[in-house]
Amino acid sequence: MIDKRVETIEAALDGIGDGSSILVSGFGGTGIAFALIRALENMTARDLTLILNGIRFVDGVAPRIFGDRRVSKVICSAARSRGRDTSIYERQWLDGELDIEMVPQGTFAERIRAGGAGVQAFYTPTAAGTQLGEGKEVREFNGKTCVLETAITADFALIRAARADRWGNVRFRGAQGNFGLAMAMAARTTVIETGAATDDPIEPDGIHIPGIYVQRVIELEDASPSNAGGL
């Protein structure tokens, strides 16, 4: 019998260690596996690569992940903290201790989707002629100057969803989905955090992530801070 549900956070995050790469879904406070991110903060794994749209929501709920210098690289489209002050991760970047690869958000989503779909690289006009296109192979298609972008895959993906069934099928609500499907495709181990991990199957035509992309499901209450949209 297929049952991807795990009972403990330890089992959900088993295998994350030094040098692991982790895709973290979420946008605007929704679709974020806050409980798993807080659990990651309490682990000791170092030299992590985090792949996420914006850094500040992770730093906002689990500040020791960066504070303890456990991240060596971030791939993201937004690396600015709130307000005027320089955050710890911005300081690490300015001092050359943290590598931040800045990626246009659509290229970010497509590199991850490509990784999950077996496409090794693709050409896009986005970022051509800009600082973020520098150093990339350039080629012209249909009169458009394009840059070559390579796919992203990772060891783990952490995703929050409204519901998952024991087969790992996932359903989102509202704008919860964001990077979830692409990240589930691109990770070797995808972990779904949900408030409802059900025995009953989700209606087949109402599934947002097919269970084939999902390895683990854990039922956990939403640990989002009340102002998560502002993180």
Partner: protein
């Protein structure tokens, strides 16, 4: 007439959004544009976190934290809305399905280059978001911005001094003083603020302005708080 307020610039940009179009509004002044959509037109607002059909901001008893826009604001959906994932949201943008993107700007060059993502802050991290995708993918790229900086420096320039968001991408610029198109021959003023002499507008611009034969008067009703 006084230079247009931020709300009046947004009002002016809203008048050019045609019936039935799909539009993405950037953070800041462009988001105000939704407030001034002509009442008789049905528009679909796209949000790059996975929404077409963004409605008004949620009121206190409508708030649902799973319904947010690209600016992390709690929103409602309008009839006909659709929800999808980020890859789809950007396929719409990059695949040329979006009619209009309205964005803020630091500088626009006479050849249509846009600089709007990196203010070169020395103590803060960078943030690019979806701007580079929007300017290369949308059918029409329109910018709302003040005509000059607070110090009076021109924002319509020959060559951008800030890092570029896109090369040769801008179609139209709405400022507090004028509506300016970017053409193959450089800037062409379509409307100029009521009472502002042409040489004065030119003096506040960093590149040569041509004036359309039918160059009109830029006016806006007294909208918003300013």
């Amino acid at each position: 007439m006084q230079p247009l307020s931020r709300h009046q610039i947004a009002w002016r940009a809203a008048q050019d959004l045609l019936e039935g179009t799909y539009v993405n509004l950037g953070l800041g002044m462009p988001l105000l544009v939704a407030n001034y959509k002509p009442a008789d037109r049905e528009l679909m607002f796209h949000s790059e976190n996975g929404i077409v059909g963004v409605g008004p901001l949620a009121t206190e008893n409508e708030i649902d934290t799973d319904f947010v826009d690209a600016g992390s604001q709690m929103i409602t959906l309008r009839p006909g809305a659709a929800l999808f994932d980020s890859s789809q949201a950007f396929a719409m943008i990059r695949g040329g399905h979006l009619d209009v993107t309205l964005l803020g700007g630091f500088e626009v060059s006479a050849s249509g280059d846009l600089a709007n993502w990196d203010a070169k802050m020395t103590h803060k991290g960078q943030l690019v978001g979806g701007a580079m995708d929007l300017v290369t993918g949308a059918k029409s790229v329109r910018i709302t911005m003040q005509h000059t900086t607070k110090d009076g420096a021109a924002r319509l320039v020959e060559t951008c001094s800030y890092p570029l968001t896109g090369v040769g991408v801008v179609d139209r610029v709405y400022t507090d003083l004028a509506v300016v198109d970017v053409t193959g021959d450089g800037f062409v003023v379509r409307e100029i603020l009521d009472g502002l002499p042409r040489d004065e507008l030119q003096a506040r611009s960093g590149a040569t302005l041509a004036f359309a034969e039918d160059c009109g008067v830029l006016t806006a009703p007294d909208v918003g708080a300013g």
